[in-house]
């Protein structure tokens, strides 16, 4: 028997075969983990966000208009979760962001490069969530502006405006290491 499509799995879960949901979790557990980790600044927070997003997706599976596009729908749930989390963190004040994304575990480059990587990750957390989101999708996930626009339902010019403001803020923040 061939691999079941996302749409078939979603429809099976909706029909009462709850255990099929595990296959969707396995399929997408890591796919968006990097996005969440860069958005939130920590692999641990990414894990919480991905877990919450899967539970929320299950609770609202009946609202998934296009079961064959479960991945895109799930991404939006995770993305909203990340944006809400970052706004909450900003309100909580500074000092809550320990940059523990894999940057701290790497030894694959010169020290200067490593420091710059950490500085950039910290600076990303100081952008607005919307600016950071565009930066991460374009420069970490390697999506084009058109692809990002399709995913988020935003226009390309508005995404570019967000991104260009992000460039300026990053340059200001990183002027000592660039």
């Amino acid at each position: 028997m061939g691999t079941r499509t996302d749409g078939e799995l979603v429809r099976a879960v909706l029909a009462g075969d709850t255990e099929q949901y595990a296959e969707l979790v396995r399929r997408y557990r890591d796919r968006y983990a990097r996005f969440a980790a860069r958005m939130l600044g920590s692999a641990d927070e990414a894990e919480d966000a991905v877990q919450d997003a899967f539970i929320r997706a299950f609770e609202q599976l009946g609202q998934c208009r296009d079961p064959d596009n479960f991945a895109g729908w799930f991404f939006l749930i995770l993305r909203n979760r990340c944006l809400a989390e970052r706004r909450r963190a900003v309100r909580a004040g500074p000092g809550v962001d320990a940059v523990s994304v894999p940057a701290t575990q790497r030894a694959d480059g010169p020290l200067e490069q490593d420091e710059r990587r950490r500085a950039l990750q910290q600076a990303l957390l100081e952008l607005t969530p919307e600016q950071r989101e565009v930066f991460v999708l374009k420069h970490v996930e390697d999506l084009s502006y058109e692809e990002i626009a399709g995913r988020l339902g935003a226009s390309v010019p508005s995404l570019k405006m967000r991104m260009h403001r992000a460039y300026d803020r990053l340059r200001e923040r990183l002027k000592d290491v660039l």
């Binding site: 595990a22 979790v25 990097r34 969440a36 980790a37 009946g62 079961p67 939006l76 490069q113």
Partner: protein
């Protein structure tokens, strides 16, 4: 010293220009931009396999609670007499058609809600027939999709009526709250401008209606 990137360097960062496309006086700035992108961490992040077990534990809990809730609610529906009221609405393609839609409503009298509701209440107290009406003169195909049919746009097609541009369908809906939208020509999702909408949590809005005892829009 300025700390913002020149607009041409921003286009360089966007991948629209190459270093050779930039005037020489911007090369130093472009190299700083390159160092910025060189610091981007693209390493994959792998989450622990235990996450799957935690998610599924919550999913099973939720599924069990839903089944218990449905059983309780079924018993209450059997045990308690209730009045079923059905809302009739006219959907339009946009505010510009609102006046025309109102006219269609006047020219196309819907059955009194009590008549349909009474009929249904006598036979199936847990559900009610709802008549969907859409004024869509340019449409070739119209369906209604919602939480009641897993958002399947082909599950409940509307049919043209005698009045020009008016599409209708009568659908049996369970008592309760339903989110929905019309799907015009298989691709255009249209909400009811006269109905309340709710955030679907993913950046869009759905129309919402309630069917049940003392039903009213949320």
């Amino acid at each position: 010293m300025t700390t913002v990137f020149h607009p041409l360097v921003k286009r360089f960062l966007d991948g629209e220009l190459r270093l050779a496309d930039l005037p020489p006086e911007l090369h130093a700035e472009a190299r700083a931009a390159e160092r910025l992108l060189g610091a981007v961490d693209r390493a994959a992040v792998t989450l622990p396999a235990a996450l799957e077990a935690r998610v599924m534990a919550e999913v099973r809990k939720h599924a069990t609670a839903s089944a218990d809730g449905a059983a309780r609610s079924w018993w209450h529906r059997l045990a308690e007499p209730r009045e079923i009221r059905v809302r009739y609405r006219l959907w339009t393609l946009g505010p510009a058609l609102a006046a025309a839609a109102a006219l269609v409503l006047l020219l196309t009298p819907a059955r009194p809600a009590v008549e349909a509701g009474t009929l249904v209440a006598a036979t199936a107290p847990e559900s009610a027939f709802v008549r969907f009406v859409l004024f869509a003169p340019g449409a070739h195909q119209v369906g209604v999709a919602g939480t009641f049919n897993h958002w399947d746009a082909s599950a409940a097609p509307l049919a043209r009526t005698g009045a020009a541009g008016v599409w209708t369908a009568t659908v049996a809906l369970p008592v309760g709250q339903h989110q929905y939208a019309f799907v015009v020509d298989g691709r255009r999702w249209v909400n009811d401008p006269a109905a309340p909408t709710v955030d679907d949590g993913f950046g869009r809005r759905n129309s919402v209606m309630a069917v049940g005892a003392g039903a009213r829009a949320l």
